[in-house]
């Protein structure tokens, strides 16, 4: 049947009824009856559905925290030098942090588009307040006597920074990283509304199907486990790098 750019657009009428294959009942009765958790579905769909979502989620979070850290470090170092910058930076980053994630994603889609850039810009924004404040606090927490000693030893400003201040600020920096990573992992579940990545995707699919309990619990559970694991790993890192903070101040 000719269907082209002509004035009359018609339905492409089936010459005969199509062959409808028997798709079979591939899923267990556990799945079909939507019981709480069907391990067989999880093992069957780990490769095609859950692992790609988890992988994408990790990538989103790592990139966001990585970029956020670099920006926050630069901002904090600048504010450390020019103290008047602290207040405006806090104000701007607080505003960004306060905008609810769903809203921020949509606001970015208009200029930037529904792609990974909007997602990452939003996620990075959420890390800035946390990381900036913590890095700055850490830098400020270096006792002045230590800095004077460094100066006395003949260190340049830059050497003092890299050899004394930043290492001493590590506890605060790592604490901030910990909070940022966990926060971003939680927020990345919403990315699916503008870009097809992250654990929010299977959560969304599951919500539209009943809800499909197994997928919901699997994907939601993975997101929570990921955040808790990241938190635990960073606590370990914190302890490894700064054993002196383990003793609790009385």
């Amino acid at each position: 049947m000719f269907v082209g750019f002509g004035p009359v657009l018609s339905s492409v009428v089936a010459a005969a009824e199509p062959v409808i294959p028997d798709y079979g009942a591939q899923s267990s009765s556990c799945v079909v009856h939507n019981h709480f958790f069907c391990a067989d579905w999880v093992s069957h769909n780990w490769g095609p559905v859950l692992w790609p979502a988890l992988r994408g989620h990790i990538l989103l979070a790592l990139v966001a925290v990585g970029i956020g850290f670099v920006i926050s470090l630069a901002l904090a170092l600048t504010a450390h030098r020019y103290g008047w910058l602290e207040r405006p930076t806090i104000v701007v980053t607080t505003i960004l942090y306060t905008i609810p994630s769903l809203a921020l994603f949509e606001l970015l889609v208009a200029p930037v588009g529904p792609n990974v850039y909007s997602a990452e810009i939003a996620l990075v924004s959420y890390t800035l307040l946390i990381l900036f404040r913590n890095i700055l606090t850490g830098l400020r927490g270096v006792p002045s006597e230590v800095l004077e000693a460094a100066e006395g030893m003949g260190m340049s400003r830059k050497q003092a920074l890299t050899r004394v201040e930043l290492p001493l600020a590590l506890p605060a920096i790592v604490a901030g990283l910990r909070i940022a990573v966990v926060t971003i992992i939680a927020l990345a579940t919403i990315v699916y509304t503008i870009y097809n990545a992250g654990l929010g995707v299977p959560i969304h699919t599951a919500l539209g199907e009943g809800p499909f309990k197994t997928e919901l619990i699997a994907a939601g559970g993975l997101a929570i486990l990921l955040a808790l694991t990241a938190d635990a790993l960073l606590v370990l890192l914190q302890r490894l790098l700064t054993p002196w903070t383990r003793a609790r101040a009385t």
């Binding site: 769903l102 809203a103 208009a110 604490a175 966990v182 926060t183 654990l199 959560i203 808790l228």
Partner: protein, 239 residues
Amino acid sequence: MHEFLEAFRFIAHNGAIAGEPGLPTLTHLALETLKVAAIGLGISIAIAVPLGVWLGHLHRGSFAAINLGNIGRALPSLAVLAIGDAFLGLGLTVVELALVVLAVPPIVTNAYLGVDGVDRDLVDAARGMGMSGSEIVTRVELPLAVAPLFAGIRTAAVFVVSTTTIASLAGFSGSLGDVIANETSYHFSGVLGAAICVAALALAVEGVLTLLQRALTPRGLRLVEPEPARVPPAEAALA
């Protein structure tokens, strides 16, 4: 760009769309959002503040209090709502339950740290003056802990507004999130307009709470910016 213009036009029309007479107005949705959020926040404060203050006063349970904050942060709102949906279906009760689960941890942690961090000398002095435990809490520790306490409440308030809008993604109806989740009816201009409203709402809530904090901070403390180096770095970021 013209999409933002369209969005502001949508807001100016209070969310009305030509040819769809039955749609709820933006004002109505905003008020509904505030209502749901207020209930959730109220319940959370009622549970979390006494708990955190009490633990902080006794200087007990720091591990639990601080890690509760971490765990609370790790819970993605959508996952909590979705799991609640799977087990209990989605209605106002389940949404409020999710809000409480998400809002209690930061409030407890910050209430604990605020009260726990009050200068021990002051507390000892108060005890020496003959004040009872509850008097110490209400007249010494709480006023001095206003800043971190309110920081926790402000964090929780933003979480709660944010989660209320996310609830619409899970199928709950009755907040500005309905517009964002329903682009077919409202078009992108509507979604963008609602997003702007949500952002404004969250900022307004934060602003109101900041003013409240200032009003409740004892006059003496208002003159002094708290020294950031004093508070242990890990916990400072929770403020």
